[in-house]
Symmetry: C2
Subunit: 154 residues, 2 copies
Amino acid sequence: MPHEQIEASAGPAAASPWDDVAVRLRAGGLRWTPQRRTLIEVLREHEGHVTASELIARCKELDGTTTPSTVYRALDLLEELGLVKHGHGHDGREEYHILPQQVHGHLYCVGCGSTWEIRPETAAVIVDALASQLGFAVDLSHVTISGLCAGCHD
Amino acid sequence: MPHEQIEASAGPAAASPWDDVAVRLRAGGLRWTPQRRTLIEVLREHEGHVTASELIARCKELDGTTTPSTVYRALDLLEELGLVKHGHGHDGREEYHILPQQVHGHLYCVGCGSTWEIRPETAAVIVDALASQLGFAVDLSHVTISGLCAGCHD
DNA sequence: GATCATATCGCGAGGCGTCGCAATAGCGAC
DNA sequence: GTCGCTATTGCGACGCCTCGCGATATGATC
């Protein structure tokens, strides 16, 4: 086997936040295991939101020996590193936001079942209202707010 | 522990919304069963919010034969009658609001674990913002929004 | 390459919530 | 009071999520 190729720092490929997970883990005395490697592979495939069960299922496809508890624990770890962020769907089930970039909220229409996003500008109105009136700094992205969309409302 | 008391028909006691549940059920072709009677007893004991497990545990104390599925199904029914309303705590677990009167939201501080209410006036700001910007009629009471309270924030 | 401390894994159990099914029992009709 | 329709119950099984425990394997050190 030839030596593994070292990524040249001049490489033009966009640096992915997943690339240095191994390093970051080891820096904290944590370990880079096959199970975590698999999970990162799976996360690379996704964008936006994924449910925990979807992640577990996909990991199991790739590995077969993956167990749910391992995935949940690895996700907790990645959340501490800021690479994912968990929230709850309208029914309380867990959802993971991959590479959370901007604050946005989630809406679920109980009429038609579709989901909507609260864009950052609108979210800001809500966050500001609660901050000024209650001094509470809310994290709108953690839950899915239910309601009726324009189409189902009238 | 409150002792049992037979309700005198001549009693001028304020009519409780629970009093005519039996009638309302039968009016819809539904039935008034011992299990439902027990649940109503339990609900009479509470105000505000209760978790599903608390209700189930208390029903089991009173009856012993109560099973969770029966309680959940009865709660669904009462929700259709408008007597309770379910929501989700910060961790996604179910919570029941007893006799929901006014629209209010729920806040959970991830710092200290305390819970706060969003008063109707403040809730209105949020509801209006989403209504005017997205045409979405949200139900703020369905979920618990996480964040940091004034004390934990700074 | 061998050693060792310990982070991590897989397993099993448990609580929560949902659903389908066969048996039971309200309750309206007679 | 009895009958019969069918709403409801209890059970069992499942999926989701968490946790504790003993066994394993990472990776730092020599």
